[in-house]
């Protein structure tokens, strides 16, 4: 893992009316690192990603990606990032290839590059045989994989994956794990949010646990486990429940 800080977030705050969605969030992500954001529903994970991906402006704080300020130089930041949102963001009436080529063009690729990148990324997510089929005919897991492939079209240096495995079958989930691991091996930096502790344990080099808009734990999975007991016996789920409490959430 390289030491260069590729993403720096400092003192991020974002409120929606009276609701403080994100409060004083600070962390860094090094190049070629898979950084996990763990937290219960409503913890503020997606809001953090939306601010980092130039969709939302923070009320306060600063984010830089690859040395560019997200607020002051968002155009440069957009050239470095790929975003896979939590909800599917696809055109269902178009084929998988058409979806990928379109977003490739939006990322600045020319026609040949976009078609080539679409072919590569559909192969990467195991959908090369369904390239010409309409996305609306796909299963939930296949749509999730197309959702990820679109995020990879711009050949980003930093990939945001916002709960990419929600509601899909074990086979598709495993395929996504392998895809993310391959991306890390190829040198991509990833910010990954999830509910699933085994995913975080398997994939993430470092983790931040968020609750009520704030980071309440930060470190490698082993470091976080060590804080509450023997890291060889404690699970990340134990850590999570220790930090966020066992009370049921809405």
């Amino acid at each position: 893992m390289a030491d260069t800080e590729f993403l720096v977030a400092h003192g991020l705050r974002k409120a929606f009316g009276p609701f403080q969605a994100v409060d004083s969030v600070s962390f860094t992500i090094s190049q070629r690192e898979i950084f996990g954001l763990l937290g219960p529903n409503g913890a503020g994970k997606t809001t953090v990603i939306r601010m980092m991906s130039t969709v939302l402006k923070p009320d306060d704080g600063h984010i830089s990606i690859g040395g560019f300020s997200v607020t002051a130089d968002s155009d440069s930041v957009r050239k470095l990032i790929g975003v896979c949102p939590q909800e599917l963001a696809l055109y269902p009436e178009l084929s998988a290839t058409d979806n990928l080529v379109f977003f490739g063009r939006m990322a600045g690729l020319n026609g040949r590059q976009a078609r080539e990148s679409a072919r590569e990324n559909l192969e990467r997510v195991g959908l090369q045989d369904r390239a010409r089929d309409r996305v609306e005919q796909f299963s939930g897991g296949m749509k999730r994989r197309v959702n990820i492939a679109i995020a990879l079209m711009s050949r980003p240096q930093l990939l945001f994956l916002d709960e990419p495995t929600v509601g899909i079958d074990p086979q598709s989930r495993n395929h996504i794990f392998e895809t993310v691991e391959n991306l890390r091996d190829e040198g991509m930096t990833v910010l990954y949010t999830t509910h699933y502790m085994e995913e975080a344990d398997r994939l993430c080099d470092r983790l931040a646990i968020m609750d009520h808009g704030s980071i309440i734990g930060l470190g490698t999975p082993r470091e976080l486990k060590s804080e509450i007991g023997n890291p060889d016996r404690v699970t990340l789920e134990d850590v999570f429940l220790e930090y966020t409490g066992r009370r049921l959430r809405d």
Partner: protein
């Protein structure tokens, strides 16, 4: 610009892949046109086919056929005698006119000659009207032959060659045909249109173009629903490029939709010639642009599909009802309200071209208002979007 083009192409691809929308915007105009054609019977003027059998083939017979074919109200279909009789037997036609052999020679020599009117039953209402028209034209041809013959007779022995006599009489005969000594002036009652189609066709065109508002007002709402708008906002696409792309797609779609109506309106209803067609088509493109601008303004303001639908329906209904889409707004409150509708300016300019023989150069105010609304609406839409989404 390239990104805008891809947005426009995407929009059109999605539109073409949606059969329901495609049917709505292409098939329904054709259905409506068909109903219009049925109601107005292909126009308010009489038009019929004259089935002619020319057994003579001489100059007078050919002149009779030529003159019949030149009439706006008649299309000549020449048949053989066998074909005409067979069609009559099968009731495929109800009447046919036979020019007998020796027709031209008889006229030349001053003998009486008759056309034969073959008919099935009473020949039908259309056949009887055509018979009257054929009789009138045949008598005119006969009278002109007689004038020529009298001139020849009067100048016989004077040494004037017959060719010179023909040269003198031909222009006089042509002039009497073009400028008959007795004409009929048509006067329309006050307030009555000379041709109802001159208002109906623009009305239908503009009404369908108004539906662009309904379809276009959904565009950003739909992108939000799919989650693709947020994804687009993380790419290199700017708000201006997004709006230009979507605006262009809606203008193109509206223009194609109006062409679907415009072509049969001119080809079948014959509301004008090529020059009028081109000018009306250009006005349609302008109207498509102005209503697309309004659609973009709506879609920037609203957050749900219902909000988009109701806003679009309200604006469309307001402009259709108060814009005098199918009637003259006259004076009073309606005339005042119509000034706030695009329909008034669009229809005024189309009616001016079709009915009053004006051209685009005479429509400065009407065209200016439409262009101004389109430009202002798109600029406003992009500004609203930037403000609401915090996007440059």
């Amino acid at each position: 610009m390239a990104l805008s083009l891809h947005i426009a192409i995407l929009e059109l691809k999605r539109y073409l892949s949606n059969r329901g929308e495609l049917a709505f915007s292409v098939a329904l105009p054709i259905v409506l046109f068909g109903l219009t054609y049925a109601v107005f019977g292909g126009g308010v003027s009489f038009h019929a086919t004259a089935n002619i059998v020319d057994l003579d083939g001489g100059p007078a017979a050919r002149e009779l056929v030529r003159r019949l074919d030149a009439l706006d109200t008649i299309t000549v279909r020449e048949r053989t005698l066998e074909s005409a009789e067979s069609a009559l037997d099968r009731s495929a036609i109800l009447a046919a006119f036979v020019i007998p052999e020796g027709f031209s020679e008889a006229l030349e020599s001053g003998e009486s000659v008759s056309l034969t009117f073959k008919r099935r039953g009473n020949g039908g209402e259309e056949g009887q009207i055509v018979a009257g028209i054929v009789r009138s034209v045949a008598q005119e041809v006969g009278r002109q032959g007689r004038v020529r013959r009298l001139a020849m007779s009067a100048l016989e022995g004077s040494g004037v060659p017959p060719a010179l006599i023909d040269e003198w009489t031909a222009p006089l005969i042509a002039d009497s045909w073009d400028n008959p000594p007795v004409g009929v002036d048509v006067q329309y009652l006050e307030g009555e249109e000379s041709n109802l189609l001159y208002r109906v066709v623009p009305g239908i065109l503009v009404m369908f173009l108004m539906f662009t508002i309904t379809l276009g007002s959904q565009t950003l709402v739909e992108e939000r629903r799919l989650g693709t708008l947020e994804r687009l906002m993380t790419t290199r696409l700017t708000a201006a490029q997004l709006f230009l792309g979507k605006f262009s797609a809606h203008v193109l779609r509206g223009s194609v939709q109006s062409l679907v109506l415009l072509v049969p309106a001119f080809a079948v209803l014959r509301v004008g010639g090529l020059a009028e067609f081109v000018q009306i088509a250009l006005i349609c493109v302008l109207v498509a642009a102005s209503v697309s601008g309004l659609a973009m303004a709506i879609t920037s303001l609203v957050r749900t599909r219902d909000q988009a639908s109701w806003s679009a329906v309200f604006i469309t209904m307001f402009m259709t009802i108060f814009g005098g889409t199918f009637f003259d707004v006259g004076d009073g409150l309606l005339e005042v309200l119509s000034r706030f509708t695009l329909n008034r300016y669009a229809i005024e300019s189309m009616v001016g071209i079709l009915e009053r023989g004006q051209n685009l150069g005479d429509m400065g105010v009407e065209l200016g208002v439409q262009a101004g609304v389109g430009v202002c609406a798109v600029v406003l839409a992009a500004a609203l979007f930037r403000t609401s989404e915090g996007r440059g």
